[in-house]
């Protein structure tokens, strides 16, 4: 039999003014299971709490109802107080007779009657409460960072610097990501490589970072604190440990005319190559599709030249398993492919701009390489077709972005800024050249951002035309750009030597597949979904998986870095304890009754319910069942409502408790 204590708070005059607390205390004193019912001036005060603690001991209470303010205000307070007196904190319930009663009902009679009913409801509930123990989950305090661009680098370094081990997985042969290929960065025009490469070196040398380049995450098992990740290290055909990165091999490689991925197909590289001189690790990789040894079965010059004996033509993919407790996803972006086949039928290209057809129509990342001192032109601005210096360059923004007709409704956020940057870099190198920009709106919110755009227009004389370009054609070696200047209200045709398209940002290839492996949600464009847009911006609905950088949505370098540090911070908060402690108010499944329809598995917003099997001692399958992973469950109870047989129930809000409350409303 329950022994319930009721503690009614006056809250000074706040409650007592409109609720006759003494009358209420008397009326509920006779409820079944109630052994004491008292009113007190301030229940949350020290004397109030100690009164409750005394009664818990002296009356041997098995449940407590505090009738006072909102549980959002003081449920924790009273649960803590109960725990101090030796009562399980989950045997405390509150009746909200202030916010929901005395403050909103001024008729004392009615308010008192309602207060009594609210208390009765809470008494009915607490009689069905169960003593719950916090759930603790051991955690592996080691993190996986997926993606070695600037966001991944930042996150990895922050976590590693705090003394925790990090596994960093990068798909390309070198870390550095998109930023490594940029020329200068807005709004300061500092050299991208100058600021990034020292951080890359830090990663390469960090004792707490295990770096896997040319590798991909193949599978993820487990859950928060306890992930098992399989990483496929692609065959590199170079022994990373033996190689000294001296360069003899790539200097001698006879297969020289292979398009460089790093230069976006505008330059060449050898078959055995490092993507760029500052690559980390500074170890080459052999491109099987270009290597004469693999293509024709002879050559092997690199192997002969290698003093370290590091070339291994028989290298194989290697699958490694890493145990980690948290995962940071920083897979970054790619550019919308303009006129090439679109991956999704929802997207349409821009055939009318002639990209891929006219060599002098390039995208923004290609232009970065054209401008870059380490680029294929050595930093001199020359156009791809004939190497001539363009005297007139047209920049088109919003290529794809904000264009519902092309299937992308969002703003890519960074193009206004880098386009301004491009016009400046161009003007700084081609003093007699003219930059034209076609734009829809200029979005330059950010510290020193708008000033930067103004500088491009006012100091560097870029011509900004508000309007869209309808078509680009080629005549006599010139690109004829036909557009409209809507501010002037007239069609506009510009003869250009080079056209640069600021095409939309898209999540990097494979991001959705990875998201599926991680059980992380993503939007219709493939950007990964954060758990809450405002309050949990780097968490995801998969506990222990965090996001940062452009894989979550278009953003620039400062934002990516900030978000990366935020994600690292969240990981470190998690790692600050050996055990993960979670509220026990989570769902559970009655496995005997579960019919294994798995509607709950589909519905669970946290993928916290798994398909499981019940086996007997001999290992024979007895039945299948849904099973809640308490480490992942957040306690929303969606599974309870969806379960037809009510085999799912939610601690703290069990069917017993909720029906007891409803049935007390008579």
């Amino acid at each position: 039999m329950s022994r319930i204590g009721i503690f009614i708070c006056w809250c000074g005059e706040n409650i007592a003014r409109n609720v006759d607390v003494e009358r209420a205390a008397a009326e509920v004193a006779d409820l079944p299971g109630v052994v004491c019912s008292v009113a007190y001036k301030y229940m949350c005060s020290d004397p109030g709490q100690s009164l409750m603690r005394q009664k818990i001991v002296s009356e041997r209470l098995t449940g407590v109802v505090v009738a006072s303010c909102s549980p959002h205000m003081h449920l924790r307070t009273f649960r803590k107080a109960a725990a101090m007196a030796g009562l399980n904190p989950y045997l405390v319930e509150m009746a909200n007779i202030r916010e929901h009663c005395s403050w909103v009902h001024h008729d004392r009679q009615q308010a008192t009657t309602k207060a009594v009913e609210l208390i009765r409801m809470s008494v009915a509930k607490v009689r069905a409460n169960a003593a719950l123990q916090p759930i603790s989950i051991p955690i592996t305090r080691r993190a996986l960072v997926i993606g070695g661009g600037v966001a991944g680098i930042q996150a990895a370094l922050d976590i590693a610097d705090s003394g925790r081990e990090v596994v960093l997985v990068e798909r390309e042969p070198s870390i550095g990501g998109k930023m490594a290929g940029l020329s200068e960065t807005f709004p300061t025009l500092d050299c991208s490589q100058c600021i990034l490469t020292p951080r890359m070196v830090d990663v390469g040398q960090h004792p707490n970072i295990r770096l896997y380049t040319y590798s991909e995450v193949e599978g993820v098992e487990g859950y928060v604190g306890n992930f098992k990740v399989t990483v496929r290290k692609k065959a590199r055909y170079v022994d990373m440990d033996a190689c000294t990165g001296c360069g003899q091999c790539w200097n001698a490689c006879p297969s020289k005319k292979n398009l460089s991925e790093f230069d976006y197909q505008m330059g060449n590289r050898t078959a055995i190559y490092v993507p760029f001189p500052q690559a980390v690790p500074a170890r080459p990789v052999i491109d099987r599709d270009a290597c004469l040894h693999f293509l024709k079965g002879k050559c092997g010059i690199c192997a002969k030249k290698c003093a370290a004996n590091a070339v291994k033509f028989d290298d194989q993919d290697e699958v490694i398993t890493e145990e980690v407790g948290a995962i940071v996803v920083a897979t970054g972006f790619k550019l919308y492919s303009i006129d090439r086949d679109q991956a999704s039928s929802k997207l349409a290209g821009y055939g009318e701009y002639g990209y891929g057809q006219y060599p002098d129509v390039v995208d923004a990342l290609q232009f970065e390489r054209i401008v870059s001192a380490s680029g294929p032109t050595g930093g001199e601005i020359r156009r791809p077709s004939d190497g001539q210096q363009p005297k007139s360059v047209v920049f088109i923004s919003c290529v794809g972005s904000r264009d519902n007709a092309k299937g992308i409704s969002y703003c890519s956020k960074i193009c206004c800024m880098y386009t301004a940057k491009h016009t400046m870099l161009y003007k700084h190198k081609v003093h007699d050249g003219q930059a034209h920009v076609f734009y829809m709106d200029i979005r330059s919110g950010g510290k020193n951002y708008d000033e930067f755009v103004r500088r491009a227009i006012e100091q560097d004389g870029a011509h900004y035309h508000r309007g869209r370009v309808s078509k680009i054609t080629q005549e006599n070696g010139k690109l004829i750009v036909r557009g409209v200047d809507t501010l002037v209200g007239e069609p506009l045709t510009i003869e250009a030597d080079l056209v640069v398209l600021a095409s939309a940002m898209q999540p990097a290839g494979g991001a959705t597949e990875l998201a599926q492996k991680l059980n992380v949600g993503y939007d219709e464009f493939g950007f990964l979904s954060e758990s809450h847009p405002k309050l949990r911006p780097v968490e995801t609905n998969a506990a222990g998986v965090f996001v940062c950088g452009a894989c979550q949505g278009p953003k620039d370098i400062p934002e990516s870095v900030a978000q990366a540090s935020a994600a690292a911070g969240k990981v470190l908060v998690m790692f600050s304890n050996e055990q993960l402690s979670r509220e026990p108010e989570v769902a559970r499944i009655n496995e005997t009754n579960c019919a294994a329809c798995f509607a709950c598995v589909r519905a669970c917003p946290y993928n916290a319910i798994e398909r499981a099997e019940v086996r007997d001692r001999k290992g024979q399958l007895v039945k299948r069942t849904a099973r809640v992973n308490p480490g992942l469950c957040m306690g929303c109870g969606t599974c309870v409502a969806i379960c037809p047989s009510k085999s799912a129930d939610l601690e703290g809000f069990t069917e017993q408790q909720v029906y007891a409350m409803v049935e007390s409303l008579v």
Binding site: D30, P32, R120, A124, T592, A660, E663, S664, L665, V666
Partner: protein, 346 residues
């Protein structure tokens, strides 16, 4: 010489009874309140006018008469929480006089069988009260269907057990009246005439199995495979038990809320999977074959051993109402006809 009553005279009596506040119950077409086209069976029920009654002797209502003595939900007493006390309130005993007109003899015959159960270790007040308050006029069946097997269990279309009056149709307008009890005679006093017309005995359904063979099987065939093979299609619902005139299992439930509630007796059925579920989680009858075996044993062995009466009148309701055509008849036919040399087989 025999007594006869015209249909008109009978209906006139019925109207008087209804007018006098008596509850008249008989087979009637249950009309849905709309015309959705759904075919609705004939059921016994309280009629508001004499015209509703179907008195041809050809009807086989989908329910039985037991619910007018042992309702599917019966409040035993109420309770109210008064502070720390619980106050009990007795249920009012039934007081309305009931007259059943046009019952099937097989349905009426179930009542004396049930009398044993309700007066054995405990005298059930409400059941007996309703028995006393009720007078039963049955009509001998003029036809039978493939599910009827009264003759196999020792009954017949003119079985007068349980009836107070048994009517046999002479033609569409007249019935031969056989008074069975004084109560019955009082009921139709003055409405009958004496005539030299006897109704022809209606045709009886053929005998479908031999009781002796069945009993022999039940005595030695507890583990026989036929239990399983014949009952595989059973879906485990309660249609058979709830339409059976003799099935009488019930469950005691409390229904209430924080203010109070009631304790009630609800019908229950042995084919439900949870019928025998123990609080421990153990269920002694864990498949339909065992549940069907129990049902047949109860009807033809356990009840007869205890009370000397077969708990089956051969009405055929179980098979007729079964979603998959499984009932006492189909199971018993199969097992009574089972080869004897297998008797000892496990």
């Amino acid at each position: 010489m025999s007594e006869t009553i015209t249909r008109g005279a009978l209906l006139q009596r019925v109207s008087v009874w209804i007018g006098g506040g008596k509850s008249v119950i008989g087979p009637r077409q249950v009309k849905p309140a709309n015309g959705s086209g759904q075919e609705v069976p004939v059921q016994y029920g309280r009629v508001a006018s004499a015209e509703e009654l179907l008195l041809s002797g050809d009807t086989r209502p989908a329910n039985s008469l037991k619910e007018f003595f042992f309702p599917r939900h019966e409040k035993l007493y109420g309770y109210q929480f008064k502070g720390r006390q619980i106050e009990l309130t007795d249920t009012e005993q039934p007081s309305t006089e009931q007259i059943i007109v046009g019952g099937r003899p097989c349905d009426a015959a179930a009542l004396p069988v049930l009398d044993h159960l309700f007066n054995w270790d405990y005298r059930d007040e409400t059941f007996n009260r309703r028995r006393e308050l009720t007078t039963i006029v049955t009509i001998a069946c003029r036809s039978f269907d493939s599910h009827c097997f009264c003759t196999s269990v020792g009954s017949s279309p003119v079985d007068a057990r349980g009836s107070d009056v048994l009517l046999l149709a002479v033609d569409a307008e007249r019935y031969e009246v056989r008074f069975v009890t004084e109560k019955g005679r009082r009921l139709l006093n003055g409405a009958t005439t004496t005539a030299n017309e006897n109704a022809t005995e209606p045709a009886a359904p053929p005998k479908r199995f031999e009781m002796e063979q069945l009993k022999e099987f039940l005595a030695g065939g507890y583990e026989r495979p036929e239990w399983k093979t014949t009952t595989l299609r059973c879906l485990g619902c309660g249609a058979c038990a709830y339409t059976c005139p003799t099935c009488h299992c019930f469950d005691i439930v409390d229904e209430g809320n924080a203010a109070g509630g009631l304790r009630a007796r609800n019908w229950d059925a042995c084919q439900f999977g949870l019928f025998t579920l123990h609080a421990s989680g153990h269920n002694p009858r864990h498949n339909q074959a065992e549940r069907q075996r129990q049902r047949i044993h109860h009807k033809f062995q356990i009840y007869p051993d205890k009370f000397g009466e077969t708990l089956c009148t051969g009405c055929g309701n179980c098979t007729r109402n079964c979603p998959v055509g499984l009932g006492v008849l189909s199971v018993v036919e199969a097992i009574a006809a089972a080869p004897r040399e297998n008797q000892s087989q496990k």
